[in-house]
Subunit: 214 residues, 2 copies
């Protein structure tokens, strides 16, 4: 098999690197990680720009093929390493798969105030000290409302079986949980149970260098 | 066949509604459009929130199934209405498909200054009058650099055959072209040729009501 390598960030705070790291582990694929210092603008070197095309992390390198954008990486992994040999990252049912993609794309493109005010540095370095702005609180409310609508009443995975959407939703919710915000009990229970998944704990528990703002 | 309906915005300026409208036309699927006034907060009615889950446009309604997020809609359309009966929105080759998704997701999540300073209102209503900020210009440069890297030297579609990524890249480039910015000749040629596609011209040429800021 051609080797797999994932470019990540050296502080291990990117939600998108998280998502691909967890996805690779869940598929049981051997891979190594190479970290870039976004604080040092490592992503702007000509070599990385050429490989990633868009100068962002993560980039997955599979043999000679390099691919960035986490959602594109999920799909590629499911297609290049399909189930049942490698567990699926996306649900197998047509509509469940559509719903998972909806959630993944929504998490990546909405809730801008929450993503800024409860940046991932507040999850892995210093907790937030300022209260949420009105826009931040509106985003937090929308997040818990959408989460409440997709989390099954009986608990357990979002779409019948675990998918990468479970991990990404739990990560987003931990912006609130780790910063001490109130979250409805069923939503909290889902997020906290998901957080214990070994692939997630491996990412969360990484040793991290002192943070340098960028 | 169960009917297809697309929720759009009444000013016809959403890049994501554009993408789904073009996709439905390219697949040759009969559908109708229902427009919401985002200026009137129509998207926040309980009925639409329940249907869309995330209170954003577009939402595709297929029989009883409602799905939002344009990238999820593309994938759903290709899976529910597969080629060869319905032309594919995403390339058929594994790596070309991955690259198209990379481009689609990048367009949706990067270049924030350009998306704000050359909002789609400047494409369909009043042209921009202020010059780009430094951040806006950096985004414009990055856009033309990435476009230059994916547009084939001989012209023609990005990934061997037309895909929805061609339409979305052309749309993004028209934020610059319609506002009179300099764009490298091969990039301009690609975007202008793509813009003539009937499905795109149908969207672009819609009658639009007077714009109300929101």
């Amino acid at each position: 098999m051609e080797t797999l390598m994932l470019y990540g960030d050296r502080f291990w705070i990117s939600p998108y690197v998280f998502s691909c790291f967890v996805g690779l582990r869940e598929k049981g694929l051997p891979f190594r990680v190479e970290t870039l210092g976004l604080d040092r603008k490592d992503q702007r070197t000509p070599e990385y720009r050429q490989r990633s095309l868009t100068a962002r992390v993560p980039t997955l390198v599979h043999g000679e093929f390099a691919l960035s954008e986490s959602s594109a990486i999920h799909e590629y992994l499911d297609e290049a390493f399909p189930p049942p040999e490698h567990p699926a990252l996306l649900p197998r049912g047509l509509r469940e798969r559509a719903r998972a993609r909806q959630l993944l794309h929504w998490i990546r493109s909405d809730l801008p105030a929450l993503r800024e005010e409860r940046a991932t540095t507040t999850m892995f370095y210093q907790r937030a000290s300022a209260p949420l702005s009105r826009a931040g609180q509106a985003d937090a409310d929308k997040l818990t409302e959408v989460a409440g609508a997709v989390i099954p009443a009986r608990g357990g995975p979002l779409f019948g079986a675990w998918s990468i959407a479970d991990a990404d939703l739990a990560f987003m919710l931990h912006r609130l949980l780790l910063n001490g915000h109130e979250v409805p009990a069923p939503v909290r229970a889902f997020a906290e149970a998901e957080w214990q998944r070994p692939s997630i704990q491996e990412y969360v528990g990484r040793e991290r260098p002192p943070y340098v703002a960028y």
